[in-house]
Amino acid sequence: MSDSATVSGRVGEQVSAGTAADFAALLKPRVMSLVVFTAAVGMALAPGDLHPVLAIAALVCIAVGAGASGAINMWYDADIDRVMQRTAARPIPAGRVAPGEALGFGVTLAVGSVLTMGLFVNVAAAALLALTIAFYVFVYTMWLKRRTPQNIVIGGAAGAFPPMIGWAAVNGEVALGSVVLFAIIFMWTPPHFWALSLYKAGEYARAGVPMLPVVAGERETRRQILIYSLLLTPLAVLPSFIGMASPAYGAVAAALGLIFLVAAFAVSRAGAGDYRAARRLFGYSIFYLAAIFAGLLADRLWLGL
């Protein structure tokens, strides 16, 4: 336990200075909320029935598993987080939670969430949850993040798995529908994070993270954002063509996608050092993904498709 994160009391006693809120922050609650939401949509769209109690249990497992990944990520990336303004106040770099505590917390929750998913729901969902955690921790955090500008392209798969887990929780299958949901988030991740990294490039460079603007420059990043946006927007309309959603959803997704493309085009046309379009795209991309998945959910709940 590091001295910076502990308060020595009586002889032999060491108490972490971390509060319950600090441990909750290790779970990256904002990321967790998006993960739970997309997983719930995957559950709602999957053919089959799952008892509501088991559905809630599955969502809890997914939330805890996602949080565990976040805690382990914060443990491994504490050195980077310390350098970046956006992350310097996190519990480990701020010295409120000891790195070892965060690691133990994350590993315990990761193992617990996977085992519980296997016991409560099914082995397929548990295996996918384990794969997601392992992918985020080992492939993205430990392998790709510090080595390649493709880090968030490949690593983005970890964020794309939750709807597949939700789907598998219902019927134990990996089906075309769940792969489409995976693909939507997978294609959404690069333009989302590259828009952010355009105006945070300096911080990433200082931290030694080879984000695309740092390695390939702004111009190439803007071009890549447009390419991925062109791939993403038709993909988000696809559910209405394969019987997963109604034409009404397709129309909404197309309209949302058009706005996404306009925003991405604005990013691609912006001059060097002008980040207004990138900020707008970053903000809109969050709304876009939430709206696409909310649209799919609404379609299923209200139109019964």
Binding site: V7, G9, V15, T19, A20, H51, V53, L54, V60, F120
Partner: protein
């Protein structure tokens, strides 16, 4: 840090942990009942 602050901090964490454990017990209980077919 004064002793009282440390105790307050520990107490907060303990209550939070107790809350989580109670929720887990309830979840495991309800899921067990459902899995045994005791619920509609």
């Amino acid at each position: 840090m004064p002793l009282s602050d440390r105790h307050r901090q520990k107490r907060g964490r303990n209550f939070a942990l107790a809350g989580v454990l109670v929720l887990l017990v309830v979840l495991f209980f309800v899921v067990s009942i459902v899995k045994m077919g005791g619920a509609p």
